[in-house]
Amino acid sequence: MSVRQSLLAILDQGPCYGYQLRTEFDRRTGSTWPLNVGQIYNTLDRLARDGLVEKLEASDASPDATSQIYFRITDAGRSEVAGWLGSPVERTAATRDELAIKLAIAVTLPGVDIARVIQVQRAATLRNLQELTKTKNATGDPETSENLAWLLIVDSLIFQAEAEVRWLDHSEARLARAAATGHAAPLPLGTEIPKRGRPTKVVPA
């Protein structure tokens, strides 16, 4: 999650205190990914180190304020925000997907009822989807910007859950076809026992 760029984009609207940034972030994301204050200050320190924000003492802004620290975006920070908004989010190709790994392993184990593994997961994902749908239905039409931002996030979670169910349906059908053609045999443990330690180097010819 691009906490760094999100905070920077908020700071582009005007200088903020650390705690204030947290509130602004939560308000805009419906508290879906709550940040703790420590995370915020760590990020701000790194942003300051990289010259994207500058730290200021509150007393610089108003004489009677206590010496709280606040942060202001720099020109370099501004162009970072513009770059972020103008470019796609890169997703790394093989993010570890716990569920995909579980199914891949389960399908190779003898005696596991894989159809049942899929059904258990689908029932759970659907329950999650029902909860999200209820939340969305209760939120109603976006009458405020906060609602609109929140609905975008709920929609995103809904589409992710839907994709998971579709993938489970697809896997179920694929497994049924594989079973029908006899290609669904489990994998026994390999007979060759690998050597301990580092994998052997392949000597170039």
């Binding site: 003898p110 005696g111 596991v112 009822d113 049942r116 593994v117 059904q119 258990v120 689908r122 029932a123 994902t125 659907l126 989807l129 029902q130 999200l132 749908t133 239905n137 809904i158 589409f159 859950a161 839907e162 169910v165 579709r166 349906d169 059908a173």
Partner: protein, 247 residues
């Protein structure tokens, strides 16, 4: 028959429904021993791969198809012993069918199309008109009441057909992939309408293969090869691990 307590009020009950199409070698078993109960205030989604028997189950629930065996009980009436006229009356007053194909009458305006089933049922004109307007409002098309079908988009025509299917006081709504041809925002209008009707005390079955739509339901039932997939998904390892056959 009805009780004030909405939840315990059974609107629709299917007991041991089996359905076979054709005979002999070419016979297709579409359903085997399906039980399903729908209470007032409950929307049940039926999911399953294509060919798993969803549409067959819905037409049986609505008395459009007679099952090979099993009982259908609609608001306390056993369809197997009801007269054809009795079943016809149930279809006019109690059951609302929402299908994908819509046959609007081109010479009638949107509201006249929606009023049609009420006219046939002998409703007074004024009362029918106001019920039809309510139905149009529920699919967010009250502003199109006086338009003719050829002045409406495909999606709007479909929503008019849906309004016609649910108009009046029908307490059981049976919908087969009702959002199929609609874009996702318009599909949501239809689901919200179904949800509202059910929350107001109707009972509904929604057939869909789209998990996002099924999620509007209170309960999701899976069909696989004409059978309900066991809903009591256990979490015990024993149920997941069959004894391993030793070589």
């Amino acid at each position: 028959m009805s009780t004030v307590d909405g939840k315990s009020d059974v609107l629709l009950q299917l007991n041991g429904i089996s359905m076979q199409y054709g005979k002999g070698e070419t016979a297709v078993t579409a359903l085997s021993g399906v039980d399903l109960t729908v209470h007032a205030g409950e929307l049940v989604a039926i999911m399953g791969a294509s060919g798993s028997g969803k549409s067959t189950l819905l037409t049986i629930a609505g008395g459009l198809t007679t099952p090979t065996s099993g009982e259908v009980i609609v608001e306390g009436q056993w369809l197997s012993t009801a007269s054809p006229a009795g079943i016809a009356a149930l279809r006019r007053r109690t059951l609302g069918f929402v299908f994908q194909d819509f046959n609007l009458i081109p010479a009638l305006s949107a509201i006249e199309n929606v009023m049609l089933p009420l006219d046939l049922d002998g409703w007074k004109r004024r009362k029918a008109r106001s019920a039809a307007m309510d139905a149009l409002r529920s699919v967010e098309l009250e502003s199109r009441a006086n338009h003719y079908p050829d002045e409406l988009s495909g999606g709007q025509q479909q929503r008019i057909a849906i309004a016609r299917a649910v108009v009046g006081t029908r307490r059981i709504i049976l919908a087969d992939e009702p959002t199929g041809a609609l874009d996702s925002a318009t599909g949501e209008v239809v689901l919200r309408m179904l949800r509202k009707r059910v929350d107001a005390g109707a009972g509904g079955i929604l057939v869909t293969h789209d998990a996002r739509h099924a999620a509007w339901a209170d309960r999701i039932v899976f069909l696989r090869d004409g059978r309900v997939v066991d809903e009591s998904v256990g979490h015990s390892v024993d149920t997941l691990l069959a004894p391993v056959a030793q070589p």
